[in-house]
């Protein structure tokens, strides 16, 4: 019951600044974390591996939310940045013989550097013009993925060795899941803290009113560039994990479609919201799978038009996304807050 948190009894600023404000919330989040870790013990390998892809998507979505949702710069290059991370991580492991635990952060930093380079136009460009510049980044990187064969294996792709601790290799569904979900939880924590401290607030200020941000002493270009770097770092880590997940990376995965997918995640989940990144990642990962199952079942029931139904899948996907944008323009996280506010006062509706 919610009797516990009617009223405001915070005693100190420290109390007031807690992320998880009430005991009820703390307990729920704790329970959720436990659930995350025991989940694979009860679930199929398929479900576990789907959860792994959600974890990776959460990290990538948090990243693009930092540059787009929090700092207000539309990025159409998150997919390509993930590719940079994946190829870099594999390269560091195979050629430089780094262990994954060093290769992954190194891949993150490499991607951050690449992200910074492609963020340079933010010195002069804003809004849609900047978005087009990031689109250029996407295509330049895609071109490099195909043509830098020594690093990326060109159009054949390249293997990605599994992380290892001693003789234990992370090559099973469960171990991949545990690694991914742990990093995803860390990414959520880091982002939550970031946006309630100095640099994160500066990002939001740059988004909301860049002229006043500058008047308050915020170096605009520094923060615009930094947001690109941080965002790309997340993408690099997510890409490294993607390499681990698939075991083999090819340029095909890191196209503009993937970038748009990530943009859609945070728009649907909630721009400038950590929770929204999570919701969006879940939604955009599960929806296509649900549609595949749904249309597959339909096609079996009506075998004559089965092919037709299957081909509608992408259209239905697009339609659902558009409907969401129309009816939930503020994102799932916003709806979630409204539902929470409602239950807090239940049964009094005002």
């Amino acid at each position: 019951m919610s009797v516990a948190h009617c009223g405001d009894f915070r005693q100190s600023y420290k109390d007031d600044m807690k992320v998880l404000e009430t005991r009820f919330v703390r307990v729920s989040v704790g329970a959720f974390l436990v659930l995350l870790y025991v989940f694979p013990l009860f679930m199929s390998n398929y479900a576990t591996s789907t959860m792994t892809t959600i974890g990776i998507a959460v990290i990538g979505a948090l990243g693009i939310n930092i540059v787009t949702g929090f700092t207000g710069q539309i990025s159409l290059g998150q997919g390509a940045f993930m590719g940079v991370g994946a190829f870099a991580c594999s390269y560091f492991m195979r050629i430089l013989h780094m262990p994954f635990w060093i290769a992954m952060p190194a891949a993150g930093l490499t991607t951050a550097a690449v992200g910074m380079v492609f963020g340079l136009p933010s010195a002069r460009l804003k809004g849609l013009y900047l978005a087009i510049a990031t689109l250029a980044a996407q295509f330049i990187l895609q071109y490099l993925f195909i043509h830098m064969e020594a690093v990326t294996g060109g159009s054949n792709g390249i293997p990605s060795p599994p992380p290892e601790i001693g003789s234990f290799a992370f090559d099973g569904d469960r171990s991949k899941y545990y690694l991914t979900i742990t990093i995803a939880v860390l990414a959520v924590l880091f982002t939550t803290n970031l946006v309630r401290s100095r640099d994160g607030r500066a990002f939001i200020a740059v988004r909301d009113h860049y002229l006043s941000a500058e008047i308050m002493g915020i170096h605009l270009f520094k923060y615009r560039l930094l947001s690109f770097a941080v965002s790309a770092f997340y993408a690099g880590v997510a890409g490294s994990l993607w390499g681990m997940y698939t075991g083999y990376i090819s340029a095909e995965h890191f196209t503009i479609a993937e970038s748009i997918n990530y943009l859609a995640m945070i728009i649907i989940g909630g721009l400038g919201s950590v929770l929204g990144s999570i919701f969006g990642a879940i939604f955009m990962t599960l929806l296509p799978q649900a549609l595949t199952v749904g249309t597959g079942a339909l096609a079996q029931t009506f075998p004559k038009i089965g092919f037709l139904i299957m081909s509608f899948k992408d259209g239905v996907f697009g339609l659902i996304v558009i409907l969401f944008l129309i009816f939930e323009p503020d994102g799932l996280a916003h709806r979630w807050r409204q539902i929470k506010a409602y239950w807090k006062l239940f049964p009094f509706s005002y």
Binding site: L194, S197, D199, R201, D208, H209, E214, I215, L220
Partner: protein, 267 residues
């Protein structure tokens, strides 16, 4: 008032020319502001008052002339660099961070004083937490001072106009400035809100020792609280001095022709 002439010069504006295409927004404008005074800039609509504040805060770069603050030439500095030197401002049209809470808006004012970067912030380690609490305390002092405790958690975009003006003042104060530029802080306010604002400005000036440059159309207020003022017309200075001197300046009186003039000059 007499003591103000003995105070040291804090801001020196010399021979500023600012042009927008064919419009001469500021024409050879110069004046000095002394430490600790309330200095007003008045003039009819379009006279160049906001443009002058923009030159001081670094938003506009004049084609000619120089501005120095506490002995340092700031003419070429970015707005952010000037903020770090201790120049804060509010805007004629509210320019808050609409998506943020009142507290977060004011905390942005602490930006230049906070030290935790990306990593300390992201991990929210001890020093970062300590720093956040310490600066939260600073911000809460301002919140108390401006009597906005009841709205501290609200998102600013949803607040009434008068309150937003107050939050903007709070944000500027959080910078802990030496000089604050106020662009029409009472515009659009009712009598009670205006009285509150006057009280705040006087307190800022007297208790916190912050120099104030005030742009305001409410002549009653300006003549009441200013130590000195300049009068602009079409970007040119047509008068300067104490309120009494300005009110008797024939050129100023001429610029504000007719019956309205006497009202304007508070006579």
């Amino acid at each position: 008032m007499t003591e103000s002439s003995e105070r040291t010069v804090q801001l020196e504006v010399e021979n500023i020319n600012l042009r927008f295409g064919g419009v001469m927004a500021l024409d050879g404008l110069g004046f000095t502001v002394r430490k600790g005074e309330i200095f007003s800039i008045i003039g009819p609509n379009g006279a160049g008052k906001t443009s002058m504040l923009n030159c001081i805060s670094g938003r506009y770069h004049p084609q000619r002339g120089s501005i120095s603050f506490e002995g340092q030439d700031v003419t070429r500095l970015t707005p952010a660099a000037r903020a770090r030197l201790g120049i804060a401002r509010t805007f004629q049209n509210i320019a808050l961070f609409k998506g943020m809470s009142v507290l977060d808006n004011i905390l942005i004012g602490r930006h230049t004083h906070l030290k935790s970067g990306l990593f300390r912030g992201g991990f929210y380690l001890g020093p970062c937490r300590k720093e956040e609490i310490e600066h939260r305390r600073f911000v809460e002092d301002i919140v108390d001072f401006l009597e906005i405790e009841h709205i501290r958690k609200r998102v600013v975009g949803t607040l009434a106009y008068g309150l937003q003006k107050r939050v903007e003042l709070a944000r500027a104060l959080a910078l802990d400035p030496k000089l604050i530029l106020l662009d029409e802080p009472m515009a659009g306010m009712n009598l009670e809100e205006t009285e509150d604002m006057v009280r705040f400005i006087l307190d800022i000036n007297q208790e916190r020792g912050i120099t104030v440059i005030l742009v305001e159309h409410d002549m009653g207020v300006v003549m009441d609280i200013s130590d000195r003022l300049v009068v602009l017309n079409f970007g040119e200075k047509i008068g300067e001095g104490t309120p009494e001197e300005v009110q008797q300046n024939p050129e100023v009186v001429k610029a504000y022709l007719g019956g309205e003039a006497s009202v304007f000059l508070g006579r």
